[in-house]
Symmetry: C2
Subunit: 350 residues, 2 copies
């Protein structure tokens, strides 16, 4: 019999998040039941609740930055035991058969992997995310959270962390690499920490210098305001990689001009509008524009272990269930430093 568990639910597009209950499936032989401790608020939660990326499935329980502890395991589970610290990220299943899944890149599953929420699983049942007290996930899509990482600062690593770590690794960031991080919000602040820990020379390109002290503290070597036109003159031909973490429209020509020969501008922020470029901006310096989408399960584990080793966690502001709607407004206004996490113990009705 499915378990009935408390959750924060958006009943309809754009609705406020209210307390209620959802059903979690019975534990299958390969399933893990996770008692959720913290769930991060990702900007994409807001886009999906507000149906800004196309249609949504309602009622919706957002949340794909989940950290907690294993409460039960299915009969054939081998990778987890009760009491293990566990994380769940952006997807909870994939086809496991396509070229990309077989190569360990299930984040790019050609059949389409199963998102942690706002999706239907392969049996047609809706998925509900981490704004809840418990979740049931196949062990192959559950991550181990190392002891060195507190669960609250670990939660945002499951999306914001892997979303920035994966392209930094894919584009070979390390000692000698010059990396610019555009935007220092939820994704950007982790990108700075990760790129620094990987050994790169890190520059933050932020609209203003308001967060400069934080940026330098997170490991940035340089911090420039994109509102200052001098920035684009000073930094011309400077970066091997620019990681764009903002979802607002960007000045592509200006950013591309900052790349060295063979440099790449990689989007992990997701502007809704189409972006424009002139091909000459690319042929000058064999530059490229690319996009990267989260990371694989294996790479997510690697990232968590890397963060534990280097003492990297998100900068978090912990909130209760009653504060989520206000938090959404602050996320949209870029007024959070740097990630909200919901304390799952506040979700059950009192």
């Amino acid at each position: 019999m499915p378990a009935v568990v408390p959750a924060l639910i958006a009943e309809a597009p754009g609705a406020a998040l209210t307390r209620g209950t959802i059903e979690r499936r019975d534990l299958g032989p390969h399933d893990v039941l996770v008692d959720i401790a913290f769930s991060g608020i990702c900007h994409s939660d807001i886009h999906q609740v507000r149906v800004e990326w196309g249609s949504g499935i309602f009622p919706m329980v957002p949340g794909h930055e989940i950290a907690g502890v294993v409460a039960a395991v299915g009969a054939e589970v081998t990778r987890f035991a009760v009491g293990d610290r566990a994380g769940v990220g952006v997807y909870v299943d994939s086809c496991r058969e396509c070229e990309n899944c077989r190569a360990g890149n299930s984040q790019y599953c050609l059949k389409g992997n199963v998102s942690t929420y706002n999706a239907l699983d392969y049996s047609g049942e809706p998925t509900y995310g981490g704004y809840s007290t418990q979740i049931v996930v196949d062990e192959n899509y559950v991550l181990r959270i190392p002891q060195a990482l507190p669960l609250d600062v670990a939660a945002p690593l499951l999306c914001a962390g892997i979303t920035t770590y994966s392209p930094l690794k894919h584009w070979n960031v390390g000692p000698g690499t010059r990396v610019a991080i555009v935007g220092m919000g939820g994704l950007g602040h982790l990108a700075v920490k990760l790129a620094h820990a990987l050994g790169a020379e890190v520059t933050v390109l932020s609209h203003s210098l308001a967060k400069k002290d934080d940026g330098l503290r997170f490991g940035a070597d340089h911090y420039y305001a994109t509102s200052d036109p001098d920035t684009f003159r000073t930094l011309a031909n400077s970066f091997d990689l620019i990681l764009n973490t903002v979802s607002a429209d960007v000045d592509l020509q200006a950013l591309l001009g900052l790349l060295t020969l063979d440099g790449a501008l990689v989007f992990v922020g997701l502007p809704e509008n189409e972006q424009r470029f002139n091909v000459f901006w690319l042929t000058a310096g064999r530059r490229s524009i690319a996009g990267s989408n989260i990371g694989s399960i294996g790479e997510t584990q690697e990232m968590l272990d890397f963060c534990a080793e280097h003492g990297i966690g998100a900068e978090v502001e912990t909130i209760g269930a009653d504060e989520v709607d206000a938090a959404y407004d602050r996320v949209v206004a870029s007024a959070v430093r740097y990630r909200f996490v919901i304390d799952a113990s506040t979700i059950p009705a009192r």
Copy 2:
């Protein structure tokens, strides 16, 4: 005293090409004087004569696909001797000091290399291109044309050949690689030959199937019409690299959907208009859009040697000086199979 040599000259923007004379500089100690045998007509010649890429320097002598024989060498020239077969491509000098020049990538010279025509050299003198009987070029920017390559079919290799060879090599095309070539004109037909000779599985994406027999003869394994919507369904997620050789606007979303994980869409064709993309088209499959600009001098030599080894030349239609304006119209109408070369012996006034 500078030499006065015959040339085909556009006296003003958009003017017809008429016979006249230009001055070539005295042979400096590192200069080579080349007797031009053939000069290819590149679409960019037309763009520049017609000032479709911004301003132009007039009078203009186009031509940057030059094949001929060395007629004289400066006192300190070591790499060429009189009688050597020689080629000149898109640029005739570079700063030799910047990061890119020092790394052997003078095609991306940060100071700006000196174009073979429609440019001022570093001393401020205008450069004149290959629609002429002789040219004087620093030996470091002159290529050797192997004996196995006839000069007429070699000439277009100096731009169209290297422009397609360089990205094929840079993106590691070889056995096991699935490559699509968009457009089978001057650049595209060489791209097909080169990609095939490199060992790739080659697909041509052309507007229609009109040139299919030629494409298969040049080495394509498959040939599809982009005017058929089924093409984009059949070939979804199929290519590691798509090389776009057309300068018309493209359907970026459709092309990007044909790329595999980590696939790249590389522009060597240069649309005048801005192109648009949605970031989601890139994050799906970590795809990238890039541009590539000709190739280095070293890589151009490598390409010529590769072509000699594999019996690759351009498919050419040889014309006389009186036919150049008509040829321009046919290039614009895509009615040449596949490259015009001007027989330089027809340039002097009779």
